[in-house]
Amino acid sequence: MKIEGKYKFLASQEQIWDLFMDQKNLEKAIPGCEKMEEREPGKYDVLLKIGIAAIKGTYTGKVEVVDPEPPNRYRLLGEGSGNPGFVKGEATIEFSQEGQHTIVSYQGDMQVGGLIAGIGQRMIGGIAKMMAGQFFKKMAKELKSQQ
């Protein structure tokens, strides 16, 4: 399943890159993130609790940042599994400056399995979009609090 979207931040591209590279910010902004530990540089163990309809449940997973090209792009690999099934995906996150703003866009492919696929697959696109929206809003909030 293809996922894509973008969000506009009022800050420079370097500031936004740093914002996204800081684990503490991610931990606060990822919806349902209970725990995020850096195993080794760029590799994290995460524990998510998600309370949305068909994908409700606790997930444990791994997230990895690869091929970083500061401050322009990096790739994100992720996989997680929990009682409702599993999620696996990868995405490219790109940063570009537009005047005073920085546009963060993501484009990726996601695979789901188990209950999530059987019951919720039709809704996953919408849920992914909603969660991405929540994530970016919280990142913007973090940005504000640090400015």
């Binding site: 789901v112 209950l115 696929a117």
Partner: protein
């Protein structure tokens, strides 16, 4: 058919043929039925099954320790236990996959059982599933039937080495000659989807194990055949007489897919044995839609060698069935079950067949109502229309041209089917008249002038019932069969008794699923014994320890109307014969002089010389010394009837794969919305010949249900998977079943051509239109879209699919 097989004279009857209300209704409509979930045993624990979220993966490890410590959990069964405690199920293919009731070291479809938790209640059991961690190593998947045969495809079973479970070639007649004589050859490729039946009651099992007697007692809602009782015994490594199955009075629908219950019976039996508890498991709807059983999806390549006048000289086809992650009995029957009726209602004497049964990472299969006849007829009946279109011939005319003629019955097909009776012209003509065919073609012409997409479709198909288990052995070559033991039969057992006060009790083993068997048995016995249907009680609880049954026992393959009724009549006649002997002895008359009239046995011509039947019954039970010398006391008679037409295949692979052959014609008029692809059914006539009608009200219900089931397969239902092997139709929001809103008015008609080989002349009717409707709707939509150059070769025809076909055709132009 040899003359000696025409066993029965048919007489006029009082009760059979009347639309008697069902005896079952009062208990069912007032919530007093006994289904699996109504059964509660002392100290019963509850099971929940952990199922694989992966379509293909190694199981590297399972950790159950946290789940075991969860309060209320009584024990957990995993693949490791199953491997130690049981054997793989036997299946009739050259190299069987190791199919256990639970995944051992590898999962091969989403929903495959991985572990079973037994707990004090279902809530605890379900919660404990969350605490089990399974370490999977995902593997590449194969989902497409034809890709599964490619040498590059991921192999599901290393011991087989490929994904091909069964592969055979058959030749009947002389296809080379047919090609030589043909004016043209028409080709087609067809894809029939994977779909099921979704009975309102899901699977259910309650199992317990007695370690002292080493015996299992297992309640379950199995619909038959009981050949699978043997398979479960083999899997559990026990003698059959150490495993008692009890099937409650009521089953909430079976439709063939409940024949796929038996692996779950073994699974829960092992959970009971391991934990030492009585364990209940009721399948939930998601489990059912992920992992119960469906019919096979099939790809068919077909060629017809035809003359210019429309005569079909021969067919060549290659059919590839898909039984999913494993193959389990009665598969590979999917490929062989319709052998006898492979050429449908037509005089086609030459046939070359290639059959393949393959595996993909999909849920497993079982005979789904119609057992692959919908697959067969979708290709055959679409082919007839393609031939008509090539020849510029009318689609009704080409069918009349090729039908078997009424004076040719009994008719032996090229593949060995013995069609007992029929008048296909009459049935089809009635369907044409019901839709006013000529007028419809005229309306279609006008509609086309206005740019509207209106289409008329037919399907005229033979409805086989009462399978002869012999067909399963076609998976072996004649040489391989000669080395083994032949198989044949279609037996069904009935016990009839008259109690000391003169009332009748019939004990049957038909596992009724709502068909009204008790009512029809009462009607039949009332006619035979001259009593009222209310004087007949029918017990239909199956218990393998105290009932007489056959391995073919059960309700599947539309067996009731043909073989069960014949067993009932035969047992009743044996009882009558005994009563006449007793009466003759007491009245000092000759049996030949006696007749039964209104509850009395009288000497013909001397009305004062008679006995009440209940007095005869009383004597048989209470004054046993008065019985004729050498006669057994009491009034009990048993019949285990098998159709004499159930013979093993011959050395040329010909087999009478079923025993009675009804016929039906569907005629459907549709209009397709070119903007949305939506199909509207304007007219629908469904005409059936099921032989003698036993109870018209019940037949009406069967036909309505089978039409709706066929409609589902045509337009809505598909057990769909994404390209990663995930089932995406695991709830009723995605797996679309037609409701009353989607089923249009259906004009049902009947033609009664009695079968000479059943006691009452009846043939099967339980599956019927689900075989003919998908082909008919496919033909109607193809006819509607013909002006656009669209051809129909797959189902279900959702608006989305039709819209895409229309867009593709527009682009081509």
């Amino acid at each position: 058919m040899p003359e000696h097989l025409k066993t029965f004279e048919h007489k006029k009857r009082n009760w059979v043929g009347k639309p008697l209300k069902r005896k079952e209704d009062l208990r069912l409509l007032t919530g007093r039925g006994t289904f699996m979930d109504d059964i509660r045993l002392p100290d019963m624990k509850h099971a929940a099954t952990l199922r694989s979220p992966y379509p293909h993966a190694w199981i590297k490890g399972i950790n159950v320790s946290e789940a075991l410590n969860f309060p209320g959990v009584r024990g957990i069964l995993t693949g490791e236990d199953v491997a130690k405690m049981s054997n793989p199920f036997p299946v009739g293919v050259p190299v069987p996959p190791k199919y256990y009731c639970c995944a051992i070291d590898k999962v091969r479809f989403v929903g495959e059982p991985v572990a079973v938790v037994v707990a004090d209640d279902r809530y605890v059991a379900e919660d404990a599933l969350d605490l089990i961690t399974v370490d999977y190593e995902p593997l590449p998947v194969v989902m497409d039937i034809e890709e599964a045969m490619s040498p590059e495809a991921p192999v599901l079973h290393d011991n087989i080495g490929s994904n091909i479970y069964s592969h055979r070639f058959f030749q009947y007649g002389d296809m080379d000659k047919a090609y030589k004589e043909a004016d043209l050859v028409v080709k087609g490729k067809f894809h029939f989807p994977k779909y099921g039946s979704t009975p309102i009651e899901t699977y259910g099992v309650i199992a317990s194990y007695n370690p002292f007697s080493e015996e299992f007692v297992i309640y379950n809602n199995y619909q038959g055949p009981f050949v699978n009782h043997s398979l479960v015994a083999i899997a559990l490594g026990i003698p059959e007489n150490k495993m008692r199955w009890i099937v409650p009075t009521d089953i909430g629908g079976g439709f063939g897919t409940k024949t796929g219950l038996y692996p779950s019976i073994a699974l829960i039996a092992l959970a009971a044995k391991k934990t030492g508890m009585t364990v209940k498991w009721i399948e939930d709807r998601r489990e059912h839609l992920l992992a119960s059983a469906t019919g096979t999806d099939r790809v068919t390549y077909m060629e017809a060698a035809v003359k210019k006048d429309g005569t079909i000289l021969g067919l060549k086809d290659k059919a590839i069935d898909n039984t999913g992650g494993y193959i389990r009995a009665p598969e590979p029957g999917c490929a062989y079950r319709s052998t006898g009726n492979h050429t449908g209602g037509y005089q086609i004497r030459n046939l070359d067949r290639e059959v393949l049964v393959v595996g993909t990472n999909k849920c497993l299969t079982a005979p789904n109502r119609g057992y692959t006849c919908q697959e067969l007829y979708f290709s055959l009946e679409r082919m007839i229309d393609l031939v008509a279109s090539e020849l510029g011939m009318d689609t009704a005319e080409i069918r009349f041209k090729n039908f078997i003629q009424p004076d040719q019955f009994p008719y032996t097909t090229a593949t060995g089917g013995i069609y007992d009776a029929g008048d296909y012209q009459k049935v089809f003509q009635m369907a044409l008249d019901k839709i006013d065919y000529k007028k419809m073609r005229e309306e279609q012409r006008k509609a086309r002038e206005q740019g509207r997409l209106m289409g008329i479709g037919f399907s005229t198909v033979v409805d086989p019932s009462v399978t002869n288990i012999a067909y399963v052995t076609l998976a072996l070559t004649p040489e391989e069969r000669a080395k083994g033991h032949p198989k044949s039969g279609s037996g069904e057992a009935v016990i009839i008794k008259m109690d000391p006060l003169g009332k009748v009790h019939v004990i049957a083993c038909t596992n009724p699923q709502g068909q009204g068997h008790d009512t029809v048995i009462s009607q039949i016995v009332a006619d035979e014994l001259g009593v009222h249907p209310d004087d007949v009680t029918v017990s239909n609880v199956v218990d393998t320890h105290d009932r007489v049954y056959s391995i073919t026992t059960g309700s599947y393959s539309s067996r009731f109307s043909s073989v069960v009724t014949t067993a009932v009549v035969t047992a009743a006649r044996r009882l009558t014969e005994k009563m006449l002997k007793i009466a003759a002895h007491l009245l000092e008359a000759n049996v030949k002089e006696l007749e039964i009239q209104e509850g009395k046995i009288c000497v013909k011509g001397s009305p004062d010389k008679s006995m009440q039947m209940r007095h005869v019954a009383g004597t048989a039970h209470w004054n046993q010394a008065a019985l004729p010398e050498g006669m057994d006391a009491g009034l009990y008679e048993t019949c285990l009837y098998t159709m004499p037409t159930s013979q093993p295949p011959d050395e040329l692979d010909r087999v009478n794969s079923s025993n009675t052959y009804g016929f039906m014609a569907e005629a459907i008029v549709v209009e397709v919305d070119p903007e949305t692809g939506e199909v509207k059914i304007l007219k629908w006539a469904s005409v059936h010949d099921a032989g003698t009608i036993l109870n018209p009200a019940l037949l009406e219900g069967q036909v309505m249900g089978s039409c709706a089931h066929g409609l589902g397969g045509s337009l809505y239902e598909e057990w769909a998977y994404d390209e990663n092997g995930q089932c995406i139709t695991a709830s009723f929001q995605d797996y679309l079943v037609p409701t009353a809103m989607e089923v249009p008015k259906i004009d049902i008609g009947h033609v009664e051509i009695p079968s000479p080989i059943t006691a009452l002349g009846s043939k099967g009717a339980g599956e019927s239109s689900c075989m003919s409707v998908p082909a008919c709707i496919g033909n109607a939509i193809a006819d509607a879209l013909a002006p656009l150059g669209v051809t129909i070769s797959e189902l279900p025809l959702s608006p989305n699919k039709i819209w895409h076909l229309i867009q593709k055709a527009k682009k081509k132009r």
